[in-house]
């Protein structure tokens, strides 16, 4: 493979123009009549390239990419399942694609039916009363969910309730969302079995009247079901708090058990994880928030409602406010609805079962060579703590890099933070037995290499378009644009 490593700016040739436009017919307006305050003083630094150059550049770059359509992608906590192509077919219908959110409601009834039906299906699957599809991503959903909890307490005059309990295994976004929402975190430790320690929880809430709630991921980030969830919920409710479920790991539960039935009051669902909408590259994501009947009036505006057969938009005075331009990432919601309707009720029930079966298959096959820090079965994902054989100083990072040489994406590494060499594998239900066997074989092979030929791991990857990256440099030198890059080069050469 020819190594392609150009920036589009480096292809630029002065005065090359890749388009031809007719003369402007707007003679009433002249750009020079604008007040100078609004005119830029320098020309923007844009690449001057032809259409073919643009096309080749991005095609070459895309060849360096790796996605679920290239190979196995067991990135733990991310649920990188296959996104069926029918989702894309449907969203490309002009009936959806060309809609404008400000069209008269009478002309967009079908679009609102999509929104309304999806929120109803999500409510049924998760056991909540009502959903808002407006949040743009998982972390956005977390923030909205917390704002709802805060608003609930404020509506009762409990302004002092501002503490949220979070276990130490949580995703980093949980404490971040709490702080952004203007509340404070109380962290509690997990027990030796990787679950919430009930005694620590009791101690954390005893004698306090400022507990606003608790954020919990179930199954948690170790892929383990919080079996004491009902007791945990009871304790938090007794302390006057609300239970928030981070829906990151909902895939494991589909068809088996519903978060709403476990005592959760609020949850967000990552449509881009559980319901097969495109994932990665930063979006567009979607993080619908569901609540119990008691909290429904606080859901963000605008809200889509239905009366008889007519859909309409309502802005509710009790709502936390408006948190999105219109109705969230609408076409992402549409993809999720297509996925759900394509599968149907009976098949949706199989998702959790197969996701869990696949993860346990991998877990059992690898536990002879990789250290299993927590015994017993897992749910949809399994966490190891590096190799059992720690000689040759092979780190989880080396194992992950070596996997790339074998044409597979690396699992999530160094998360959760509970184990220093954490490696977190989530195969999802969409992988075949053959793919899982191939992955297991490669992982065993890597373990043998670690013992007999450790340099193969320490030098990895050697077969990818980009070799091992300098992570320290990348973290310290923030180069996000061509301008940053030029500044860096100038400084370096000084």
């Amino acid at each position: 493979m020819i190594r392609y490593n150009k920036l589009i700016f480096e292809l630029s040739t002065e005065d090359r123009v890749g388009y031809s436009l007719p003369n402007s017919k707007f003679s009433d307006y002249n750009i020079n009549d604008l007040k100078t305050d609004y005119l830029r003083t320098e020309e923007p630094d844009l690449p001057e390239v032809s259409e073919l150059e643009v096309l080749r550049h991005f095609t070459n770059i895309s060849n360096k990419n790796f996605g679920v359509e290239n190979g196995f992608y067991p990135l733990g906590s991310c649920t990188m399942k296959y996104n069926p192509k029918i989702n894309e077919e449907i969203v490309n219908f002009n009936n959806f694609k060309r809609l404008h959110p400000l069209q008269p409601v009478s002309t967009t009834q079908g679009a609102f039916k999509v929104y309304y039906d999806l929120q109803k299906i999500l409510a049924e699957i998760s056991g909540f009363h009502e959903f808002s599809l407006n949040p743009y991503a998982g972390a956005h959903g977390e923030l909205i969910g917390l704002m709802i909890i805060k608003k609930y307490h404020e509506s009762r005059g409990d302004f002092h309730k501002n503490k949220i309990i979070i276990p130490d295994s949580a995703h980093g976004t949980n404490p971040a969302s709490v702080v952004v929402c203007g509340m404070e975190v109380i962290e509690i430790e997990s027990n030796k079995r990787g679950r919430v320690d009930i005694d620590s929880l009791k101690e954390a809430i005893s004698g306090r009247d400022d507990i606003a709630g608790m954020m919990l991921t179930n199954p948690n980030t170790l892929g383990i079901f919080e079996e004491n969830i009902c007791e945990i919920a009871k304790l938090i409710h007794k302390a006057g708090g609300k239970m928030y479920n981070d829906g990151a790991n909902l895939n494991a539960l589909l068809g088996k058990v519903r978060p709403g039935d476990m005592g959760f009051d609020v949850m967000h669902i990552n449509l881009h994880k559980t319901f097969s909408t495109p994932h990665g590259g930063g979006g567009p994501g979607s993080g619908p928030v569901g609540v119990t009947e008691e909290l429904a009036k606080f859901l963000p505006n605008p809200q889509v409602k239905k009366m008889d057969d007519y859909y309409y938009v309502e802005n509710n005075g009790d709502a936390i406010g408006q948190i999105s331009a219109f109705y969230g990432n609408y076409l992402v919601s549409l993809r999720a609805l297509v996925y759900l309707l394509t599968l149907g009720k009976e098949n949706i029930k199989l998702i959790g079962r197969y996701a869990t079966l696949n993860a346990n298959y991998v877990r059992n096959a690898l536990k002879s060579t990789y250290e299993l820090p927590i015994q017993g079965n897992c749910m949809h994902e399994t966490v190891f703590n590096g190799l059992i054989n720690k000689e040759n100083d092979i780190k989880t990072l080396d194992i992950a890099k070596r996997l790339l040489d074998y044409g597979m994406h690396a699992p999530t590494i160094y998360f959760p933070l509970l184990f220093p060499q954490a490696i977190m594998i989530e195969p999802t239900e969409t992988e075949s037995l053959q793919t899982l066997d191939e992955f297991i074989e490669i992982m065993h092979k890597i373990a043998i290499e670690a013992k007999e030929n450790p340099d193969k791991l320490k030098d990895a990857p050697t077969k990818t378009p980009i070799r091992r990256t300098d992570e320290v440099f990348a973290a310290k030198q923030m180069i996000f644009s061509y301008k940053d890059y030029l500044e860096y080069i100038e400084k370096r050469d000084e």
């Binding site: 160094y414 998360f415 933070l417 220093p420 992570e471 320290v472 973290a475 310290k476």
Partner: protein, 127 residues
């Protein structure tokens, strides 16, 4: 095997405390801690004059793997901050026992008794 210096006090959060004179101490992180963290890329430090409260976070170190809070092993007033670490965070990896984060005037030097000596710390990390 991580290096442990004799004569320093150690906390469960893998910080070391070195007594300079009476109630003035330096605080850093142990060799074990830097090895677990991996390459340190950022150090977030408090300001001179800030108060340190035992058991509460006073800054953070960020490595390529994770960001970790610095937890105060003792209480007192920060009389000096090692600004050098901000521009050269790699010092934390290279010389963990030289790369101190803060110089502190302790409120209560009895708090040192709650910390571990080098022998106890050695046992702690070999568990």
């Amino acid at each position: 095997m991580s290096k442990i210096l004799e004569g320093l006090y150690y906390s469960e959060d893998h910080e070391w405390v070195k007594v300079l004179e009476d109630d003035v101490v330096l605080v850093g992180i142990s060799d074990f801690a830097q090895a677990e963290l991996g390459d340190v890329v950022f150090v977030d430090l408090p300001e001179e004059g800030d108060e340190l409260i035992k058991g509460e976070e006073f800054g953070a170190v960020e490595s390529v793997k994770a960001a970790s809070d610095l937890i105060a092993p003792i209480s007192g007033e920060i009389i000096e901050v090692n600004e050098e670490l901000v521009s050269e965070p790699e010092k934390v990896n290279q010389e963990p026992y030289e790369a101190w984060f803060v110089k502190v005037k302790m409120n209560n030097s009895k708090e040192l008794k709650d910390l571990m000596d080098h022998k106890a710390y050695k046992e702690e990390i070999s568990e």
